[in-house]
């Protein structure tokens, strides 16, 4: 890399004389200044290498360095949150390995689960460059390496879970476990990265299987509906029947009270009569008898009075008038 050829040129150029050397010297000074000044963007640090050897890391702002490529500066965006996407891509990438080519997406997302089913998992990782030195000098292609490791780790985690865990209840746990594992590998390689977050995005069964998973959901709804309808019927009938039973019970109790009260009433009336009757039985009897007959007989329209010996009239009467006869 012998690039510093300009210094000797100076002495050769002195020969023609005149303005030439002055212009060349001026140009040289300007070039030197330009190659000695650099700025580091706000979210980065500048890693300075002198003859390739790590020299220092400088904060954002305007800085000087040795010119002519002796010092080389690499800005490393340490404060920026970087992102890698797996199985999809959002526009506006800030990191060169943020997403892969669309042709890779299906391969990236297809995973075998721990019950030997298949799930399609999309996810992102968010990370920061924590140690610029490690990031630059320990691993070649750190972004690409991180993609490989992330895919491997995610499959390791998914491989230990059933397809149902992956699709429904296990999501958060998968994110947390994968983050820990990924950070472990990243530390092992000393990549200088800190994994802030892993987020699962769309997690689906494979396309041809999707419909059957939907059918399960429908069946689940259907089950709830059938049960709810039956419960509704139950709730409609039971309280009403309970009320009706109570009604019948109350009515029976009413009957009981009525029955006893009536009996007691009848008895006390009879007792009263009896006590009077005991004083004069014959007369009372006679009176009761007569009173009754005098009330009853006027109602009767056909009355026949016969002599006690004239019994032959009875058959005649029965033939002519089919009416109730009440012999005394």
């Amino acid at each position: 890399m012998a690039t510093q050829l300009r210094t000797p040129d100076l002495s050769q150029m002195r020969l023609p004389g005149g303005f030439g050397p002055i212009i060349i010297v001026a140009a040289l000074i300007v070039w030197t200044l330009f190659s000695a000044v650099f700025t580091v963007p706000a979210e980065s640090v500048g890693v300075v290498q002198r003859f390739g050897h790590y020299h220092s890391a400088v904060e954002p702002g305007l800085h000087f360095k040795l010119p002519f490529g002796i010092d080389q500066v690499t800005p490393v965006p340490v404060k920026r949150q970087l992102k890698e996407e797996f199985g999809f891509s959002t526009p506006g990438a800030t990191f060169q390995d943020q997403s892969s080519a669309p042709g890779q997406w299906t391969l990236e997302t297809t995973m075998v689960t721990g019950d030997l089913n298949t799930a399609m998992v999309e996810w992102i990782i968010q990370f920061r460059i924590e140690k610029p030195f490690d990031y630059l000098f320990n691993v070649r292609d750190p972004g690409d390496t991180l993609r490989d490791v992330s895919e491997s780790v995610m499959r390791e985690v998914i491989g230990d879970r059933t397809v149902d865990e992956v699709l429904t209840i296990g999501r958060q746990e998968i994110e947390a476990t994968a983050q820990v594992k990924l950070q472990d590998v990243v530390n092992k390689y000393a990549m200088g990265l800190r994994i802030d977050q892993i987020q699962l995005k769309n997690v689906n069964p494979p396309e041809p299987v999707q419909a059957s998973f939907d059918r399960v959901n429908e069946a689940q709804q259907e089950r709830e509906q059938l049960i709810n309808v039956a419960r509704g019927e139950f709730n409609k009938a039971i309280p009403r029947t309970r009320g009706e039973a109570d009604q019948r019970l109350q009515a029976a109790q009413g009957y009981a009270i009525e029955r006893v009260n009536e009996a007691e009433g009848d008895v006390s009336r009879f007792n009263a009569l009896l006590s009077e009757y005991n004083k004069a039985p014959e007369v009372t009897k006679q009176r009761l008898y007569m009173e009754t007959l005098s009330e009853v007989l006027p109602l009767v329209q056909s009355k026949v009075i016969v002599d006690e010996s004239a019994t032959s009239v009875l058959p005649l009467l029965q033939l002519s008038t089919p009416k109730t006869k009440e012999p005394l």
Binding site: T110, G114, L116, E151, D160, T162, L226, V267, E308
Partner: protein, 318 residues
């Protein structure tokens, strides 16, 4: 003066010559340098980044990567021990541990990569062929699955048990390959399964199995729904019958007791003495007349009755 000028000129020419001939070179943090002379390595490997000096023209700088490097294997179809065809995509991390050995045996990274592909590819193939698929899918032996409460009673597929697991198999491949790579000055840091997928021919069967499993779950849900609904309907009927029959029983008991009490009250009064019995019969008979005799009745009274006896004679015939 002239002499002085020529000395300066000579010095400058020497510097220019050195610079132009490439006597100075820089070593980056990411690399080590091996100096060769006529293709033969000379001296120690230069591991320190910075400006270095060599003999121009005859010595050549060979830059050797110091960082961790990628080996990204090709995706290959291979069968597992349980005869499932899968596509396996591996990747590994390696670095050049012995630059001299590496340089002598391989020269450049391209031949290193192809050697890695040979060795790791075949070790992977061996390892996969020796294990059932589940062994390279799962990692932890003792993990138990969590079950969605909604699927608790359903026959869902479960985590299959393993005896070794993915990390162990990765470690086995690493062990087997490390020795073979060490002689090339390569240190293999790790090797991991990146992607494992069913081969196209297997995939359709897997999908069919997944579909049938889901259908079975759906059927199960439907049947559970109908069953539970029937159970609730049964409950309802039992409850209705219970309530109604209990009410009937209580009603009858209450009425019976009331009837009994009333009967006892009547008996206690009507049966208290001979006169009471007589009076009751008499009064009751008279009451019966009131209810039995009405306007449609034809009454034949004989003259020997109590009422009409007087029609015949003053002293009733008795």
């Amino acid at each position: 003066m002239n002499n002085m000028k020529s000395v300066i000129l000579v010095v400058i020419l020497i510097i220019v010559g050195l610079l132009g001939s490439g006597a100075f070179y820089t070593v980056d943090e990411t690399e080590r340098v091996l100096i060769t002379q006529f293709g033969k390595p000379i001296g120690e490997v230069i591991d320190e980044a910075g400006l270095q000096f060599k003999v121009p023209f005859i010595q050549v700088v060979n830059r050797i990567e110091k960082r961790i490097l990628v080996w990204d294997g090709d995706a290959n179809d291979m069968p597992t021990k349980d005869k499932l065809y899968i596509t396996v995509d591996m990747f590994g991390r390696w670095r050049i541990k012995d630059p001299l050995q590496y340089f002598l045996r391989l020269r450049d990274e391209r031949s290193a990569q192809s050697r890695l592909e040979d060795i790791l590819g075949s070790e992977t193939r061996n390892a996969v062929a020796r294990h059932e698929l589940i062994e390279i899918i799962r990692t932890s032996k003792d993990r138990t699955q969590e079950v969605d409460p909604l699927l608790a009673d359903v026959d869902i597929s479960t985590l299959l048990p393993i005896t070794k697991g993915r990390q162990q198999i990765e470690a086995d491949i690493l062990d087997a390959a490390s020795g073979k790579l060490a002689e090339f000055g390569i240190e293999l840091l790790d090797i991991r399964f990146k992607r494992i997928n069913y081969n196209e021919s297997v995939r359709q069967k897997i999908y069919a199995r997944m579909i049938s499993e889901r259908d079975q779950i759906a059927e199960r849900f439907r049947s559970e729904g109908a069953g539970e609904a029937a159970r609730i309907t049964g409950d309802k009927e039992r409850e209705l019958k219970t309530i109604e029959s209990k009410a009937y029983r209580e009603v009858q008991t209450i009425r019976g007791k009331a009837d009994a009490t009333a009967t006892a009250i009547y008996a206690g009064s009507y049966n208290q003495s001979r006169e009471a019995v007589e009076l009751y019969k008499f009064v009751k008979t008279l009451e019966t007349y009131r209810s039995v005799i009405d306007s449609n009745t034809t009454l034949i009274l004989t003259t020997d009755s109590d009422l009409m006896g007087l029609l015949k004679q003053i002293e009733p015939a008795r």
